[in-house]
């Protein structure tokens, strides 16, 4: 008699599949969707070229333990080209990343996350015409190199500085 959740409360739109399907995927759409629906791997796009693995680790760890990060590379230059894959140990952690990290800033750029069917060798290379990330046709200027320290450490520093007069070692 207790019944399940109401449709209104079951809404979890940030976790839903997007329209994107990997054209190079080996298998049909149904298979790809099946994998996407239980995947623990996220594609992360619109990263700054200067964003480091460490920064990605720090941000994405906020939704759970990270199993692996694979940086996206320009196919020709083999340098960072603005995307990466983040794999979690659990699906629930990946879902929280979709709910709370997608659409927020990393290195002062709004990043975009989407489900990925699972990393396979070769998928770390950009498929854009010049070898970089495929971008929507919107002009985005490259930002200046971001603040090199990690957010969390910066904050602890500021707090620590201002607590000099109070004899306490913070964090």
């Amino acid at each position: 008699m207790s019944g399940g959740l109401l449709k209104a409360l079951r809404s979890d739109s940030y976790v839903e599949l997007s329209q994107y399907r990997d054209q190079h995927f080996r298998g049909d759409n149904e298979e790809q969707e099946k994998l996407l629906k239980k995947s623990c791997t996220l594609y992360v796009g619109n990263l700054s070229f200067y964003t480091t693995e460490e920064q990605i680790y720090e941000l994405f760890s906020k939704s759970g333990d990270i199993k692996k990060i694979i940086m996206g590379l320009d196919k020709m230059k083999k340098t960072a080209c603005g995307f990466c894959f983040v794999e979690y140990y659990s699906r629930a952690d990946a879902e929280n990343a979709m709910r709370y990290i997608n659409g927020t800033r990393l290195d002062d750029r709004i990043i975009r996350t989407d489900w990925d069917a699972g990393f396979k060798e070769g998928r770390q290379y950009g498929r854009g015409r010049s070898g970089g990330q495929v971008r929507r046709k919107v002009f985005c200027a490259q930002p200046l190199p971001g603040i090199p320290v990690l957010n969390n450490v910066f904050c602890q520093f500021v707090f620590a500085l201002l607590k000099i007069t109070v004899p306490i070692t913070l964090a």
Binding site: E54, I69, L170
Partner: protein, 765 residues
């Protein structure tokens, strides 16, 4: 939504008579949608929408009664922020159809019993509140509600039950009174006075040992951090003194008084609280988080006082909104800012306070920490002219009171603030802060430069000229060359064979006993070469896993690997954390080694730093997940065997005997694995608690002999870290209570330390 529109959709005919079964689902979905949406922004008034919906539901009762009953019970349970809207709806339905009203009340009682039996106590509170508001809608007779509350409060007389059980029944009673206190007092004041007297005497005699463990601040100023029942009692007392005048709650049923007072009421059946069982798990006590009062917003509407019932109702509703919409950050933000009655209260202040209350809640926030960061960002986007200022004000207030804030909460504050700032280009009134910074830098001695975070670089001891004289230097160089030319594990082993063991006069013939020098040169050189990125370091660990495992075979070996890794990466806390994580996952070190390392003298300088505790808690979590995983595998194997047995008794298959054998063996192996994992888990906690007791005792004894005060900042940090272990892993630790009590937290222990254990016990006592 009007009656007219509905009949337009159906061409005036009876919709359900013409519909086929396949459309029934559509209708049910439609009904669900209508019910869920009532009360949202609409062109029509709430009253007219309610009246219209009541008409629709009444018309659908013949064919969809059980679905409608189920829907209304569900919204009662899951949408408590819209309580009075739905009680009004039920009131209108009861006025039109007495039998339906009766069936609904019965269904609610059944649901309440189920919730209590399945430990869904938070939902049960909403059901009780719903029932009590039904008194206001003339669905339930007041005397029968009073009788139910009498039975609730009589639970306080039960003996040999946990206090948290008695607490819940008192809470369910008190927290319904803002809605129904007036009506109940008007009808049955003598009985209500008796119930109040019982409640008061219970509240006076109940234990509050748990309070210090759950307070966000240890200071009582500017706002006392009250135990939740104490606070609620004060609020209800004040409401009673004000003759139950309450002006905040939205009461749509008042507009329908003439209809509703004609309705026949139902009596609640006598309700006996389900007895306490071994499996009963009651909600933990809470401390109410308060950071604002009316002086913080002198320009706007007055903020209701901490003991006003309005404050209670507003906070309850805001918490319920977050609970309903936590997965949808934009919806959640929109629902929060459109809280009804928002023009009469400083809504932004309430919202910010409620969000921080959840973020800082002990033992743990109701939802994942990062949700609150993103929710606050959405709120700033939605109300850019007003909310950011309130948030800035709150941040400064929190900052000013850091020295009395619980260490765990400080961690969460730091993580929230830094993440928040990184979304706003680190814009802050830094000029105010930095000018102060410059002043400080001007007069502060250079020794304070230690507070600046170091450049996160790798420290390689064999790197420069001066290291020529270090033992093992030549081997380090040799290793470096080998690594660069893609040596195999065997080649590395043979290079290491020649490293003398400083611990022994002559080398062991077995060759691989604990040799700290071997570990030193290997780990230093490898980590230095792999320093470029996390991925490089992980690859290195993977490639030379065999060497690591062999060198770290003994407990001392494991500890030394961690020590050397720390020497290399002490400037880069994040790298330390990910390396420890990898080493545990690849079983180079075990959890107990990490625990021992954290309490070792090498780490004493960094003992109060956040990264140390993040590593320890992450380690404990990995251990817990490991145990749960194997337990699950065992359960699944047992279920598989049970299914096979059932099939065998159904068929008559000889071959399944053989299948059984393999499965039974697997179960035996898993059983052993579970036992060994649980033993490792228990040992981990014992190690951690033991080490805490040791260092705290050392400090306490030293203070006693020196005659100095125990309460140093280091002590506050350490004792709160001990509390944090209990709080963050309370469910797991609960299994080991008896061992802890008998082995470690005995009566001989210093009372300062024992108090923490007693507070923890009080959480579920």
């Amino acid at each position: 939504m009007s009656r007219r529109r509905h009949s337009d959709e159906n061409d005036g005919g009876q919709p359900h008579k013409r519909r086929k079964t396949s459309d029934a689902n559509e209708t049910e979905d439609h009904l669900e949608s209508l019910i869920c949406k009532v009360g949202e922004k609409s062109a029509c008034s709430l009253e007219s929408n309610l009246e219209g919906l009541a008409g629709v539901l009444e018309a659908d009762l013949p064919n969809y009664k059980s679905k409608i009953l189920r829907l209304l019970c569900t919204v009662a349970r899951l949408l408590p922020e819209k309580l009075t809207i739905y009680t009004t709806l039920v009131g209108l339905l009861n006025a039109r159809n007495y039998n339906f009203g009766g069936e609904f009340v019965e269904a609610m009682i059944r649901q309440l019993k189920e919730s209590l039996k399945s430990n869904n106590f938070n939902e049960a509170v909403y059901l009780v509140r719903f029932l009590s508001d039904l008194v206001n809608c003339h669905v339930i007779a007041a005397p029968s509600m009073v009788a139910m509350f009498e039975n609730f409060v009589s639970v306080t007389q039960e003996e040999d039950v946990p206090q948290v059980r008695r607490d819940w029944y008192v809470y369910a009673f008190l927290s319904s009174l803002p809605w129904v206190g007036k009506e109940l007092y008007e009808k049955k004041d003598a009985e209500m006075d008796r119930i109040f007297a019982s409640t008061e005497s219970y509240l006076k005699r109940r234990q509050k040992t748990h309070v210090p463990m759950l307070q966000v601040w240890t200071a009582e100023k500017p706002h006392p951090q009250e135990e939740y029942l104490d606070c609620l009692w004060a609020q209800i007392q004040k409401l009673k003194k004000d003759r139950w005048q309450e002006r905040h709650i939205l009461r749509p049923y008042l507009a329908f008084d003439s209809i509703l007072c004609e309705a026949l009421q139902h009596n609640l059946p006598p309700f006996t609280p389900p007895p306490h069982t071994e499996d009963s798990v009651y909600p933990m006590p809470r401390v109410i988080f308060r950071m604002f009062d009316y002086t913080d917003d002198p320009e706007g509407p007055v903020m209701p006082g901490s003991h006003s019932v309005e404050r209670f109702v507003i906070e309850e509703n805001l918490h319920c909104i977050i609970k309903s919409h936590w997965k949808e950050r934009k919806t959640c933000a929109a629902q929060l800012v459109s809280y009804p009655g928002k023009n009469k209260i400083p809504l932004n202040y309430h919202i910010v306070e409620v969000i921080f209350a959840e973020l800082f809640q002990l033992p743990a926030p109701p939802h994942i920490d990062v949700m609150y960061t993103t929710l606050l960002i959405e709120l700033c986007k939605l109300q850019p002219g007003s909310l950011p200022q309130v948030l800035a004000q709150a941040t400064e207030m929190l900052y000013m009171r850091l020295d009395t804030m619980n260490t765990t909460c400080v961690d969460r504050f730091i993580n929230w603030f830094s993440h928040h700032l990184s979304n706003f280009q680190f814009r802050w009134s830094w000029e105010d802060w930095l000018s102060y910074h410059q002043r400080i830098l001007d007069f502060v001695p250079p020794t304070f430069s230690a507070l600046c975070p170091a450049n996160p670089t790798c420290i390689y001891k064999y790197g420069d000229e001066s290291s020529n004289s270090l033992p093992g230097h030549s081997v380090a160089l040799c290793l470096a060359v080998a690594f660069k030319s893609k040596a195999t594990n065997d080649e590395i082993f043979s290079i290491l064979k020649d490293v003398p063991n400083p611990n022994q006069d002559d080398d062991d013939d077995e060759g691989f006993s604990f040799n700290p020098l071997k570990i030193e040169v290997f780990v230093q050189t490898l980590l230095h070469l792999a320093a470029k990125s996390f991925s490089h370091s992980f690859s290195a660990l993977a490639k030379f896993h065999e060497v690591f495992k062999t060198l770290a075979e003994s407990d001392e070996g494991k500890l030394h690997v961690l020590r050397v890794m720390f020497e290399v990466w002490r400037n880069h806390p994040q790298m330390i954390a990910v390396l420890v994580d990898k080493m545990i996952r690849t079983q180079i070190v075990d959890c107990a080694a990490v625990a021992n390392w954290i309490f070792s003298s090498e780490l004493s300088r960094d003992f109060t730093r956040l990264f140390v505790w993040e590593i320890l808690h992450s380690t404990i979590r990995k251990m817990n997940k490991h145990v749960l995983k194997i337990q699950k595998e065992l359960e699944e194997a047992k279920e598989k065997l049970a299914r096979q047995h059932k099939r065998r008794s159904d068929d008559d298959d000889r071959s399944s005997d053989r299948k059984d054998g393999a499965l039974e063996e697997q179960i035996e192996r898993l059983q052993e694995k579970v036992e060994s994992a649980q033993s490792e888990q228990k040992n981990l906690f014992l190690v951690i608690f033991q080490r805490f007791i040791m260092i705290l005792t050392e400090h306490l004894v030293r203070c006693e002999t020196d005659g100095t005060s125990v309460l140093t900042p280091w002590y506050k940090n350490c004792i709160e870290r001990l509390q944090q272990i209990f709080l963050q892993h309370h469910q797991t630790i609960h299994q080991y209570m008896v061992t802890l009590e008998n082995l470690l937290f005995t009566a001989e222990l210093d009372p300062h330390i024992l108090a923490v254990f007693q507070q923890f016990c009080a959480l579920q006592a």
